[in-house]
Symmetry: C4
Subunit: 367 residues, 4 copies
């Protein structure tokens, strides 16, 4: 990538060229037939927003407050396991870029650098919690996150079980030996078992081994009681669950299908969003993710009721192409596109997007 | 197929490679322009199910009771004529695999092994009845099925007349000499007349020759009176007919277009299902078939009101690739996918699926 | 075509191979971008009919009474100019085949054999009237049609002006010298002016030259008063016009966009049909045409409110491939398909189709 | 183009062949992923109009009064910057052709000939105003336009900021030295800065440099007070803004997304039109643009509530292929197609189009 890329699509292509094929498959693929993965993109492409004119807006204020954290943009980096798969600097590089841009980074339970090392970088951080079998380890993680000034706990509720990622199974995908679950104690630190083509992937086996198979609202209540940080539930799609989240004290929910990696057949996050927004009626914050690839997608999410979005794969693509600088490029592209989109639609800031008229484009081809 | 296939699609490809082209065409094709055949698949792809989270479900109970038979899964093998076309062990292999997996097998009037030999295998069996011209033969079949402990009679009501399968006509398709209608007495046992390219296929002629052309509700009443087994009507798509089925004492109906092999222009079974479910309002059981190729499809059928599904071609593809073991593979894939789908959507079992939120994915491509 | 074709599609392909390219373009093309031409087919493909079962129907009665004429099928041959373009026997061959099958043939004002010669064949005939500039010639044609026992007058109301058929303009298409407007007196008999590529086609110029540019309801009233034959208006799409047709004494209207050859942007006939049927509410007969290529299409038209359909291009394709025998083949295919469709949907005859449940198939492809 | 082209599509192809690739990209491209650019065309293709018959119309009267100007057609040439990019005669050639055909030409603030020279040609002219940073220059332009008998002021309200045209950025597109903003005083006259691939295009930089970034309803009020000419606002899509336009004294609004060159994600103009038409309820005139490529598109716009359309790229394509004569060809094609469309739908003139029945064609392809 000698010339600075203009679009996330260009970064994506560069990442595909830069990564070993099975790593590319791991990061970019989805579960089963990848119907939901494709639906995530298609849902954004179908939405049309009607610009307002003559609002006198020149330099829109893009800043937002998400889950109690100030951000320069209504965006945060989604939790993604094992950043070191894409670049030796892993989460450290991403944390630096996120800090530079001023957006929160969600550090995954399965991060490949330790929370402590990532926190040392100094930007706003969120902590993503997987519901481990070992309750003591959960407590340990929460305490460390609080001590390190993480700003919220994002409990992922749509996993396990781990979705069937057929590409990984076919590739017999497994982690290189130097990529580990850095926050966990041995023996859970190492994703040792080699994947064999056709069997469950090594990562799937590891995930299922360390994570508690049954997660319930009772556990949410327990988390709520055991941390003073704002609580975010990630992976909610049904409006009834969003209401339950409110009732269990969640400060925010992430409307998400886990990037099309869990239940293949789930609706796109952005397609599920309006019903969720109607049901919660402002009683908690709403983030959405899956398929955000352009600043205009962010605006669409806001127009449909979200307070912000999470960015998944694009950040890893940037990391794969150029480490910290690649992530900066990705976030800068999205910032510029989003700022431009606000200006072109006459919005003074994220809040104004809620008032945009939303319709659906149909792009039937005549022949 | 040295490596165990991961998806039904892989089994399908292996079957296409393993079978003579005209046999492949016979089993996989549909009638006329195959619009309904394609609609069966497209209907499933368009449906999105919204997962529930935090239900605390770990190991879902997949068992179901279908037409009075206990099954480990809300699935049964659909009636398919002449299994020996695909493997010398024919219905015996399929019966063994179905027994291993614990799902009912529907044995066709036109099975290529005798009811007695199939029953000797020992799994749960259903008997599919075609309305033969010879009423005595019908009585004989019913008595044998009852004596052999078949658990229900499934009367197929969407045939004759036989659909126009153009591939078979073009191929001049006919049965090999060692594949016969094993349950029928001579001369109906042999599908002798050779097909000539361009004329009606040999199987079509035979079917029309042995089957009574006019089947009416009066005949249903006669069957109802002449057997003590649960009665299932297969091939109902119109809600008004489903209500008539209830009124004529049917225990279940199969919402089906015969796998796209009869009226080309009929809706997909799963598309017709909601209106049927609304009309019968629980007064009889509902099975659906046509295009089920993934455990998630089963879940979609349940969410739309079915109690279970029938599996057609995938079972024959498994049979063609590896006999009993191939059928086991197919049923195992579907069991794993279905169990996984229940877990990923937070369903404790088939009944919970009825409560899932159903929407429709549109996958327009932008360019 | 050594083997008898199985579908109209096969006849179409054979006709394309048999005809000079510019003649093929003339008969098969539409106006402008051919959006409406394609819409005619797409509209049929989108419709699903739900079969009824157990109605006890065996041999459906396909006969119908259309515009006062008994027909063995709810079909008639549409008016098409200059049959001799496709075969030297022209309208005589078509009339013989239509007679054999027992369906009415609509003879065009611009037929390439004289009404008298066609009538000599002896089948049921309808007369299509173009609104000529020369009122005397109209009177002459009506008198001859009545004398020759034509059964109705079908006044075409959607032409002139002649649609812009770009293929013909590009081809500089013109009639061979031996194909003439046989019913007209000199100088209108000869379509002499050579077309030059890029200019209006020779046929367009001739048509515009002989036909009166302004046709109004007053003229319809005049025709109604000047013939004792049933009056059919061909080319009605708007429900308000259909009501006006009833009020002006029309016995039937043909819901038609002239095979996609006039206003490109018009809806498919079968798409316009339901609103027309609702508006006329049985006060006149409804025929529909455009894109009928299968017996099932006929059934769909009936289910949506038509009493019968007109068959256009398929008849010419048959004529092009094998003269009288080719037309017989086309009509026989459609008869068999239609009879089969009735049986497969449990309809005792055309009237029962009105009661079939109609839905719309969507065949989105997932990838 | 030796033979006169038959369709705008043919002119488009000829223009692509005639222009340097980066000039072609500049004129034909849109912003970002060009979703809105494609939506403009798709929206027209989806609309079906139902013709009326027997209205007795022969020679429709195509004339219209648009923004107080008499036009022979309900069409005007859209404001397009720098016509000299496509032909040395630039705006002079277009003005001559527009005069010949009798349709208004909107001269852009950024025209590459001076208002005075264009006005000397003598046809009906409109003046498009960009909201320059230099208020004195705005006053100067308004005074000149009034003095030169321009008939209206069309204030473009959807720019700045300038849309991101990625093709231009990639091409490093910049104006040749002899193409200047002829109406502006130095230093704004010259679009000097060379574009570098990957940076903002030279035209974008120039535009952003000269134009005031904040345009508000207050400025509209100022324009309204500072000119006696009819005021048209171009670039309105939201019905609420259309109502505000009425309240601020606009005589007309142009429902437009700037040819898909500004906010990518905006609906097609013709898709936004019905809601706008309902909101303004006749209180001001409505023009629409974007994707008009056929006379039938014009009719569709009228049927949906527009009083007329603006023609953008097709005029430049004509200019590129053959200067004045090429523009004449384009306008003549559209005139002939539109006249023909009126006749084929039974409309005596533009006003009658409002009464046509509008439906939507879906052209799903079955396989
Ligand atoms: C490679 C990869 C790893 C992921 N790891 C996690 C994880 O550890 N925890 C989690 O909650 N979500 C995880 N996700 C899901 C993301 O947080 C996010 O929901 C998703 O990537 C958003 O979709 P997008 O990639 O289309 O932007 C992962 C996603 C990917 C692609
Ligand atoms: C080769 C073949 C033979 C069939 N034979 C019968 C039969 O004898 N009786 C019957 O009721 N249905 C028969 N069917 C229909 C199936 O029972 C079932 O409705 C259909 O296959 C379901 O669709 P699927 O194949 O897409 O799963 C047959 C289907 C196929 C493909
Ligand atoms: C080559 C050709 C010539 C036609 N000539 C006439 C005609 O003379 N008079 C008329 O009313 N319709 C004419 N039509 C229209 C047909 O009557 C009919 O409306 C149309 O062909 C039906 O569509 P289909 O061809 O898709 O079945 C013609 C159509 C074609 C294709
Ligand atoms: C090359 C080009 C330059 C344009 N310049 C201007 C302009 O200076 N001012 C303006 O208001 N609109 C401008 N437009 C937008 C047009 O006025 C019009 O809205 C658009 O081209 C209509 O879409 P169409 O090209 O699909 O017909 C420009 C469009 C193009 C393609």
């Amino acid at each position: 990538m000698p010339v600075r890329p203009l679009t996330i699509g260009e970064v994506e292509q560069a990442a595909e060229a830069a990564l070993p094929p099975e790593t590319w498959d791991f990061v970019s693929g989805g579960s089963d037939a990848e119907v939901t993965l494709r639906a995530n993109r298609a849902a954004f492409d179908r939405i049309a927003l009607t610009p307002r004119v003559l609002t006198g807006v020149t330099a829109p204020d893009t800043s937002a407050r998400l889950a109690g954290t100030d951000s320069t943009l209504p965006m945060a980096v989604a939790p993604i396991a094992y950043h070191r798969l894409y670049h030796p600097d892993g989460e450290l590089a991403v944390a630096r870029a996120a800090k530079t841009l001023g957006v929160p980074l969600t550090v995954a339970t399965l991060s490949s650098h330790r929370l402590e090392d990532i926190a040392a970088v100094g930007g706003p951080l969120w902590f993503q919690l997987y519901w481990l079998r070992d309750r003591g380890q959960i407590v340990d993680l929460l305490r460390r996150a609080e001590a390190l000034d993480f700003r919220c706990v994002m409990l992922t509720v749509d996993c396990p079980p781990y979705g069937r990622r057929l590409r990984d199974v076919r590739n017999g995908f497994r982690l290189p030996h130097d990529v580990v679950a850095a926050n966990l104690a041995d023996p859970h630190r190492h994703v040792a078992r080699a994947g064999e083509p056709g069997a469950a992937s090594a990562i799937a086996s590891h995930t299922d081994a360390i994570m508690h198979p049954a997660l319930s609202w009772r556990d949410v209540a327990w988390v709520r009681e055991n941390t003073r940080l704002p609580l975010v539930l990630k992976g909610v799609l049904d409006p009834r669950d969003a209401v339950l989240a409110v009732e269990h004290g969640a400060d925010a929910v992430v409307v998400s299908n886990h990037g099309g990696r869990q239940f293949d057949g789930a609706p796109a996050g952005v397609a599920a969003l309006p019903a969720v927004a109607e049901a919660v009626a402002g009683r908690c914050e709403l983030l959405v993710d899956g398929g955000v690839r352009h600043g205009t997608d962010v605006l669409k999410a806001l127009a449909l009721g979200a307070d912000g979005v999470l960015l998944g794969r694009p950040v890893m693509w940037g990391l794969a192409t150029d480490g910290e600088r690649g992530v900066e490029t990705v976030l800068t592209i999205l910032r510029e596109e989003f700022t431009h989109a606000l200006a072109l639609t006459g919005c003074a800031g994220p809040a104004a997007a809620r008032d945009l008229r939303v319709t659906h484009v149909r792009e039937d081809r005549p022949c």
